[in-house]
């Protein structure tokens, strides 16, 4: 019985040296490759991985996402939005690298298990304060960050960052949240936020 790796190796070898294999072996390989996938199951999986709009770049999509997910105030707004936040453990980055996943189970537990040193992988900020997010971003893009209001660094956000994003792209994405305004002047980002009422969360 061959392991999947051995079969894969045989597949490539069969392409490189078909003369080494009998017609029957080649036929068997083709039959295997011709197998129809379960499209319904594949769609369900895809939908599960993309079931909410938080990752969408366009303005309307981001605003819709913001309405569902909301920004959670540190003061302890119940984390009702948790039901809407998809499970992201298997969110895939372009290079199939693991995404640092941050999770909280309620508003009191504000741990953010992010790896702030890893910058070459996509990174998911799941209910993480803006202050932490922008600390990473300022390190990565070599910019300073100035908050225009004192609440700003404490507002929490759900955001998927990818290393291929330019700073301008990140600003564009985050500016699509109605309650965040980011302006860049030289090498400094000026951030202003407005609080959202608890009922929106």
């Amino acid at each position: 019985m061959q392991t999947p790796d051995q079969k894969k190796q045989m597949f490539f070898d069969m392409q490189e040296h078909p003369e080494k294999y009998s017609d029957e072996q080649i036929e068997t390989m083709m039959d295997e490759l011709n197998q129809m996938p379960d499209v319904g199951a594949a769609w369900q999986k895809f939908e599960q991985n993309n079931c909410q709009t938080a990752l969408r770049p366009s303005r309307s999509r981001w605003k819709a996402a913001a309405a569902v997910i909301g920004i959670l105030m540190v003061s302890g707004i119940a984390f009702a939005a948790i039901h809407f936040i998809r499970h992201v453990a298997d969110v895939r980055g372009d290079l199939r690298t693991p995404i640092e996943d941050t999770r909280i189970s309620n508003s009191r537990q504000q741990t953010a298990e992010t790896d702030t040193t890893a910058t070459s992988h996509p990174k998911l900020y799941d209910n993480v304060p803006l202050g932490e997010i922008f600390k990473d971003l300022s390190d990565y893009y070599h910019v300073k960050v100035v908050y225009r209001n004192e609440d700003a660094p404490r507002l929490r956000l759900y955001y998927l960052w990818k290393p291929e994003y330019t700073l301008e792209k990140v600003m564009e994405m985050l500016n699509n949240f109605e309650w965040i305004q980011i302006q860049k002047e030289n090498d400094t980002l000026f951030i202003r936020t407005t609080a959202i009422p608890a009922k929106d969360c």
Binding site: I26, M30, N34, W43, N49, S58
Partner: protein, 164 residues
């Protein structure tokens, strides 16, 4: 505020494309990568791109676009794997995507210059039109094994081209 009608329509359209083309795309990916999970990933990545991106597909050419995307992504992936096996760095390779894209646009030209007329036809039937081995064998009036051999030869020299 909430999910807009536009969002719903985009999702419905994405579902239609997915249901209609997934099977063919997946089989094309498997022809190049073999690995089921990797093939699934390649196809899902393409749909994710469509869902989140601005690409609008024309009904007449959507299948070709999707299958060509699969083919290109698979070759790209193979190149990365090959490089990483030789000690390359994934992060470095990511920066190399422009070079990759240039190579990918050259594939058709490369195929035209390096494959026999019959192989070019078979290559396109499989990777642009999504024909099965069986369908190609019937169209070309050759055995399935002969189809495999022609495709293998084509894939080998394209892979070689990518390694260089």
């Amino acid at each position: 505020m909430g999910i807009t009608v536009k969002d719903v329509m985009e999702r419905i359209e994405c579902q239609r494309l997915f249901m209609q083309h997934y099977a063919k795309m997946y089989r094309v990916a498997r022809t190049i990568l073999y690995d089921e999970q990797e093939s699934e990933d390649v196809v899902s990545d393409i749909f994710e791109h469509l869902l989140y991106g601005e690409t609008i597909l024309m009904p007449d050419t959507e299948e070709r676009y999707l299958l060509t995307s699969v083919r290109n992504q698979c070759f790209k992936r193979l190149r990365h794997v090959s490089n990483s096996l030789q000690g390359g760095d994934y992060a470095e390779l990511a920066d190399d995507s422009e070079t990759d894209d240039e190579r990918l646009t050259d594939i058709d030209e490369f195929v035209a210059n390096h494959l026999s007329v019959q192989e070019q036809r078979i290559f396109r039937l499989r990777f642009t039109d999504g024909y099965s081995y069986e369908e190609i064998a019937t169209a070309e009036d050759i055995s399935r094994v002969a189809v495999w051999k022609h495709l293998s030869h084509a894939l080998n020299i394209i892979r070689q081209h990518f390694k260089e």
